[in-house]
Symmetry: C2
Subunit: 423 residues, 2 copies
Amino acid sequence: MRSTFIDTATIIAVGSELLTPYRADSNSLFLTGRLNDLAIEVQGKVIVGDDQKMLAVAIERGLNDADLIVMTGGLGPTDDDITRDTLATVLNAPLVERQEILSLIQARFAAHKLKMPEINRRQALVPRGAEIISNGHGTAPGLWLEWRERVIIALPGPPRELEPMFDGQVLKRLALRVPSLRLARRVVGVSGRAESQVEEQVRPLYARWKERDPVVRATILGSLGQVELHLSTRASNLREAEISLNLAVEELVGALGRDVYTTEGLPLEQVVGTRLRSHGLRVALAESCTGGLLASRLTDVPGSSAYLDLAVVTYSNLEKINLLGVPVALIETHGAVSEAVALAMASGVAARAKADIGVGVTGIAGPAGGTTAKPVGTVFIAVAGVGVELVKLFAFRGERDMVKHQASQAALDMLRRILDDHE
Amino acid sequence: MRSTFIDTATIIAVGSELLTPYRADSNSLFLTGRLNDLAIEVQGKVIVGDDQKMLAVAIERGLNDADLIVMTGGLGPTDDDITRDTLATVLNAPLVERQEILSLIQARFAAHKLKMPEINRRQALVPRGAEIISNGHGTAPGLWLEWRERVIIALPGPPRELEPMFDGQVLKRLALRVPSLRLARRVVGVSGRAESQVEEQVRPLYARWKERDPVVRATILGSLGQVELHLSTRASNLREAEISLNLAVEELVGALGRDVYTTEGLPLEQVVGTRLRSHGLRVALAESCTGGLLASRLTDVPGSSAYLDLAVVTYSNLEKINLLGVPVALIETHGAVSEAVALAMASGVAARAKADIGVGVTGIAGPAGGTTAKPVGTVFIAVAGVGVELVKLFAFRGERDMVKHQASQAALDMLRRILDDHE
């Protein structure tokens, strides 16, 4: 016996461009997040081209596999847009022209002082019995179809149309079709440890969380220089879900300590920015091998002008000397990629900008420039100011952009820890 | 009647993490590129979780749909790794332990001075009759299976294992199973025009190319601040394919003129870098709203230290004045976001670094800081040097990071055009 609730979904992305080497289906990530929030599990995803026969097969299989099919794409006005026709065939529900859609599309063109091209008339055709989901951001309406105990939702491909349509209209309709469980979700960010180290540390917690009521689910995701733990719980009310989740987050912080930089899913640069702002401190950056990436990440945070005055990228020794006041002798004795020069860059840029804290990064991003003593990936990062002088040596692996990214991540993390210690 | 050649493929990605909101399948883009190079068309993609029953269904469907199934993931040593077992069940080919795999895995651990965990023994199990594809970068071997007239290839999930395995071992085996058509491919990059403008311009060419022998296929891909046209031809010999493709590229350049920045798929920052290097010119950057992104993009190019000495991010007026010599009066009269200040930043940073060309970027990245006269997205970009003084006003749309990206793209494009005119 099937539940009358929607438990499971299949996502079908339609479009030949999604079968090229150049474009991945990204809508399904958004949709999966929203469906999971409703406690609907995505059992599978299918990507098909603009081919009616193949799409028909995919829809039939989807109806067999899951309670809900969410389709994306193929609702445009051209011959390549096959979703409407294929649904009509598979569900044996002939297309009918809906005057209210036609009027909306015509109005949309009129608002831009354009006449509706005849081709757009096709977008007013819908399989008989379908309900229309209006589109505030484009001409293609979405479709909601019921077939036996299944639901099929067809949404337009462009994210700027699909996302508001889902959040504005689909979400609340779907919510009526799932058990009234509330979901709580937290993302914990960890830096300074490898994914395997984090996993080892938290495995005992996983086991404990599985036994809890409500169960806490966890996913671990490692990327360059950081690890994220995605935790979620579902319960009949939100408070219950949150209590269970908060306990799990506390246990995680207990196990991982200061390596946790956020329990709210914030990016590291934003965490650093918030700390700088709350301490009323200003930072200045002197970058060599990161080439501006550290500055660019910090300035990705809105309002970062409040705490970042100056960043300089000094590739050449001359600029390190002229602009940052790095003593020539230091470079001659230790080389530009050295502990001493990183420190002199950090304190030099802080002095120049009259900032409270300076950060200096010097290293070898590659692919050329490495030596036996200082291979590609060798990076010195220094932080100077607020009574602290700290320099660390890193040996990063990977390509030029990976070295740049890891070095920017390590610099942000050093800043974060120093700011945490600052009173 | 089926061809004995492999014409069509289905890609099956296995892994529950690919059914979360956090991780997309990216291997299929790499695989699609390689399969298309062999003239194998990817008809569909399927993503399933770590669920034997669902994977079995997906494999059966794949065998029905296409000549070739390429599977990725699910070859690890844990209980969640179900590819081997499921293949054994579907193909009715019981698992057998292969001593040569076991020895390789043990040797791999021994090389790291580790004892092989018992759990890894599972990776030496393969469905009877499978051929082994050795893995130079991990413990999981790939599998090549023949079933009736179908081929199934199972590859490990991590790209650093999958990609060399495919290129080193799979490609040449597959090449024996396809008609000996040669593929030529070119990527043409266009800046300074919207996707729809490019499309309008090249639509007449598309029609012409379809009639050619060999046919030229084209895909257009727009992203923030640039448009790419991916062209390909297949012919019985490479020279024939290339002649046809070269003609198409020439026609494209004829239609789009100087808006084409590459016909070789190079990123814009690399094109600019190559021009700077070949002219023997050095550039210096003064960034405000792009916050170091322009410097970071230019320094993503290996060897960029040859032409970039200095980049500064001057968020504050004080640093614009002190470091770049922007006259106080200019800022007071025109504001920091103005044509005059952009120009003064460009010439100021060039003078300071004794560079041949200076670039100045000042604008409002948002979300705050906009006014009626200068809304968020207002950006002035100036280039000064080599006898040129040019400043342009842009009105970009989108979020902070989108404004930053578009501004960096526009600055690189201005540099490119000026360098092209330079002799």
